[in-house]
């Protein structure tokens, strides 16, 4: 009764270049993981993006169908834990499934950071099924500019 659209091969040059770029980034990441970022995971859901600047770490996680109240966040030392449970919406009796591609489960994920986190100042917000957490780096872990004095 239902058909998905078939996949078209990527044919444009720029698309290919960006694909190469993405693969390169992913490879880089694989090699780097062992060094300073060791993600310790219990289950793979949710997928996260972690970025940083001088003052903060930023974590974004895709959590579709999760209300803000259902997401638990805790910070301890150098790690952030995201946990919660995604429950399936109730289906009426006698419903016949054509497709069932989405997964529902409880999840818990620990993300480790290379430096200490200012746990008091962590902020989190959920919007449109994406969780954004801002984690300020501890004062002593921030990069410092050192002025060179002329003698």
């Amino acid at each position: 009764m239902f058909l998905t659209r078939s996949f078209y091969p990527r044919s444009n040059w720029r698309g290919m270049m960006s694909e190469m770029e993405r693969m390169r980034r992913e490879m880089d990441q694989l090699f780097r993981m062992g060094a300073d970022m060791e993600p310790t995971m219990a289950g793979v859901h949710p997928l996260v993006n972690v970025s940083e600047d001088n003052d903060n770490f930023y974590v974004q996680a895709e959590l579709p169908g999760m209300a803000a109240s259902g997401i638990e966040i805790s910070v301890e030392g150098k790690s952030l834990t995201l946990s919660g449970e995604r429950k399936a919406a109730e289906t009426p009796e006698g419903a016949r499934f054509h497709r069932r591609e989405r997964a529902f489960a409880s999840f818990s994920r620990v993300i480790g950071f290379p430096t200490e986190i200012e746990s008091e100042a962590v902020q989190a917000q959920a919007k449109d099924g994406v969780l954004s957490v801002t984690l300020p780096k501890a004062e002593k872990a921030k990069p410092r500019q050192i002025a060179v004095q002329a003698v």
Binding site: T4, V48, N49, S51, E62, D128
Partner: protein, 131 residues
Amino acid sequence: MSESKEIMHTEESQSPAEQTRPEPVFTPAVDIYETDDGMVLMADLPGVAKEDLHIRLDEETLTIEADVAEAKEDSNYLLNEYRVGRYYRQFRVNADFDRDKIEANLTNGELKLILPKAEAVKPRKITVSAG
């Protein structure tokens, strides 16, 4: 563990028309079920705001299309497990729906689309009268 990763990953696909901008297009995961009253489609569309979601029902194709605001490209990623881009998925539907009563609801990046069947195609119980 690798198995569950498969489930959660959004499949990447190409929209039928070639794109002018090189950006990824994802196939959102869906659940579809049918009841006597109609069909319900639930889709995971994380990062999609209500105004960026477009649902079209043509003669017999249902199209779900959504834009997601691009993340800052200059971000210094420590871990980059997912990318953002457009969502696109089409379904061929052959049931007759009551087009005026279709409802779509987007909460926390989860779409619930209710397509009620037209009265004419609803299963009807026929009572046999004794002659």
